[in-house]
């Protein structure tokens, strides 16, 4: 009944009313706005706290146990930051999970449609995600490593530890950056796969499969060189190297450790860069 009464009035008044326009002239939003939005998104869900919390707990916890079980003499040949490595080998999973969830949680809930409706320049949003997540992941892992390294340096600065240069701290920073790259790769895979479980499975495969596959390839004569190559160039091995673990398993590997540092990092940069480039192309074109 109300509709029947209001119908004619709207019909007559509508043409008279001028088309509505926003009273304040609005400027084109920039990356800074997207960064603020992504920061709000990151800190307002509990999965961030859980993943980064477990990263800190694992790295610092395992590192402290390691420190408690060692004496100053054990640090004669290894840097003070090495105790953080063992936690980081587990903690990298948490970083990858958070990287995946940063984008797949939007796809899983349908929030991505709201986001891309509000910001149709999708690359701006994706760049903000990479920057915010990357910075947070790097600062968290580097911070945890720093805590463990400092604790080791304070607890074991006896004469037996020998001399330590600041270069080993740079190696630890590189290691943290390597883990961050793994997280960024996870984010790119998440953007491509769009499913949390699928993307996390892919990333776990990326980290755990090469050592197994390399060992299998080494069995046969023909594929042995390839197998050795895979065994030397994979995420866990690279991480150990960057954290200054002496590679005592293969005698021939020791002299190659220093140049391989850069190679490992370059390889990771290449893979992550390719995945990120693919994510930009796909996210820009795909129906969501």
């Amino acid at each position: 009944m109300t509709g029947a009464q209001t119908d004619p009035s709207t019909h007559s008044s509508a043409p008279a009313a001028a088309a509505y326009g926003p009273p304040v002239e609005s400027r084109r939003p920039h990356l800074g706005h997207a960064l603020a939005s992504e920061w709000t998104k990151l800190v307002s869900v509990r999965s961030t706290l859980w993943t980064l919390g477990s990263l800190v707990v694992v790295v610092v916890g395992i590192g402290m146990i390691f420190i408690a079980q060692t004496s100053s003499g054990d640090y004669a040949n290894i840097p003070f930051t090495t105790p953080a490595l063992f936690g980081m080998l587990v903690g990298q999973l948490a970083v990858m999970v958070l990287g995946v969830l940063t984008i797949t949680s939007e796809h899983g809930t349908g929030l991505v449609r709201t986001t891309f409706t509000a910001a149709p320049d999708r690359h701006r949003v994706l760049t903000a995600k990479y920057l915010v997540f990357g910075l947070v992941a790097f600062l968290t892992s580097a911070g945890s490593v720093f805590v463990v390294g400092t604790a080791a340096a304070i607890a074991h600065n006896g004469a037996g530890a020998g001399s330590h240069s600041t270069g080993e701290w740079a190696g630890a920073l590189e290691g943290s950056f390597y883990v961050t790259l793994l997280g960024l790769l996870a984010l790119a895979v998440g953007a491509l796969v769009r499913h949390s479980a699928g993307a996390i499975a892919v990333m776990i495969g990326v980290v755990t499969l090469p050592p197994v596959a390399g060992a299998m390839l080494s069995i046969w004569e023909a594929s042995a060189p390839l197998g050795r190559l895979v065994l030397q160039h994979n995420a866990p091995v690279a991480l150990m190297q960057l954290f200054g673990m002496p590679s005592g398993t293969s005698p021939s590997g020791s002299p190659q450790t220093m140049p391989a540092d850069l190679t490992q990092m370059a390889l990771m940069l290449l893979v992550t860069g390719a995945a990120m480039a693919a994510s930009y192309v796909v996210v820009g074109r795909r129906d969501v």
């Binding site: 109300t2 509709g3 029947a4 209001t6 119908d7 709207t10 019909h11 008044s13 509508a14 043409p15 009313a17 001028a18 088309a19 509505y20 326009g21 926003p22 009273p23 609005s26 400027r27 084109r28 939003p29 706005h33 997207a34 603020a36 939005s37 992504e38 709000t40 998104k41 307002s44 869900v45 509990r46 999965s47 949680s105 939007e106 809930t109 349908g110 929030l111 449609r113 709201t114 986001t115 891309f116 409706t117 509000a118 910001a119 149709p120 320049d121 949003v125 074109r285 129906d287 969501v288």
Partner: protein, 372 residues
């Protein structure tokens, strides 16, 4: 103003939207109707640049959506009430969307108050009901105070108060000179909300006209006649009289007659001449729902069949009136006064509990409420 030209979207072999061209003008609430799977949501997603059209294009105020300088200040949309992260609080969700376009934080509290969610602002959206989700979605659409608004099924899950609120909100937004484009399945709601209708079926445009025009074009009024008495004799005799006078008569499931082609006074005169008393003689003005059903009948994608309940019930074949071989009259909601169906029509025990399941099945077949 939204303008679509030759909009087409194919998913593999299936054409979801086929050569759709229409305009949505400012100052009106434009309803977007169509059966399930007819391409409404796909069309809305193409307008918002979420899907890329296979062919054709759609512009908003002359721009493709993804080329708008500041999309949120021009277009607001509610596509899916559940399109939010359940672990995030309502206010934070809105804030993160607002920040994308540099909309000040104060605006978030404003829209929360507009949709009546100020008390739920600190709740995680996981615990929201569908209606609260709709309100939050509408708040998201209103954030940028946009000139063009799209709503996909905005009243789903809302309580009657909420439905009334949405209706008034739409009308007010349109009266301010904005373009409001609303899809809905609730015909009664569209009839009182929309000034203009765009109807699609199987991805094709079926109608693009004002609501009043649509109803008059696609439906016919009729008179509902109920002859006194419980037996079919008087009814059949009167139907014969009416048919001789040039009327078209259909029988409704509860025994009333649906008469078209005769004026009400003439029907009354004929009854008087035939010595018959009438229990009901009511004019029936076509509703939007009826007009819509009539138009989209051929383009409904998912049709249901009667549940035969094979082996579960003893079947009782439904008797067709001997004078009408055509299809049974379509269901039409009864409006205004009508006499309750005579007890005989419901198997003689309409007000009693059935003593055995078979009796319930038999009466259900005659009961218009149950067969709807």
């Amino acid at each position: 103003m939204i303008e679509a030209v030759g909009l087409t979207k194919r998913f593999g072999a299936k054409t979801a939207v086929d050569q759709l061209s229409f305009q949505v003008r400012p100052g009106h609430v434009t309803g977007f109707l169509g059966p399930n799977g007819s391409g409404k949501s796909t069309t809305m997603r193409m307008i918002l640049g979420l899907d890329r059209p296979t062919a054709g294009h759609v512009t908003i105020n002359g721009h493709a959506f993804r080329e708008l300088p500041n999309a949120q200040r021009h277009v607001g949309a509610l596509l899916d009430a559940k399109a939010m992260h359940g672990g995030r609080r309502a206010r934070t969700h809105l804030l993160s969307i607002a920040q994308l376009s540099g909309i000040p934080e104060k605006r978030v509290d404003e829209v929360l108050a507009v949709v009546g969610l100020q008390d739920a602002a600190r709740q995680r959206t996981k615990g929201f009901s569908l209606g609260m989700g709709q309100r939050l979605g509408i708040a998201t659409a209103l954030l940028g105070d946009p000139q063009v608004l799209l709503f996909d099924e905005p009243v789903n899950g809302l309580d009657p108060e909420g439905i009334l609120w949405v209706r008034n909100l739409m009308r007010r937004l349109a009266a301010e000179g904005r373009t409001v484009f609303v899809s809905s399945h609730l015909m009664s709601e569209m009839a009182v909300t929309a000034d203009h209708l765009i109807v699609i079926g199987r991805g094709r445009l079926l109608a693009d006209m004002s609501t009043q025009e649509f109803i008059t074009h696609n439906s016919a009024g009729f008179a509902r006649v109920r002859v006194a008495g419980t037996g079919p004799d008087g009814r059949d005799a009167f139907a014969e009289i009416l048919r001789k006078d040039g009327a078209r008569v259909l029988q409704e499931p509860d025994g009333a007659l649906r008469v078209t082609g005769l004026e009400l006074p003439r029907i009354s005169d004929l009854a008087h001449e035939g010595g018959l008393r009438l229990w009901e003689l009511s004019p029936h003005r076509a509703s939007l729902e009826e007009a819509y059903m009539r138009m989209t009948r051929s383009s409904v994608e998912y049709t249901s069949t009667d549940d035969p309940r094979a082996q579960l019930w003893e079947t009782d074949p439904l008797a067709l009136p001997q004078w009408e071989e055509g299809p049974a009259a379509p269901e039409v909601p009864q409006t205004g006064f009508f006499a309750p169906p005579p007890p005989a029509a419901t198997g003689g025990s309409g007000f009693l509990m059935p003593s055995e399941p078979g009796e319930l099945a038999a009466s259900a077949q005659n009961n218009p409420e149950a067969s709807r």
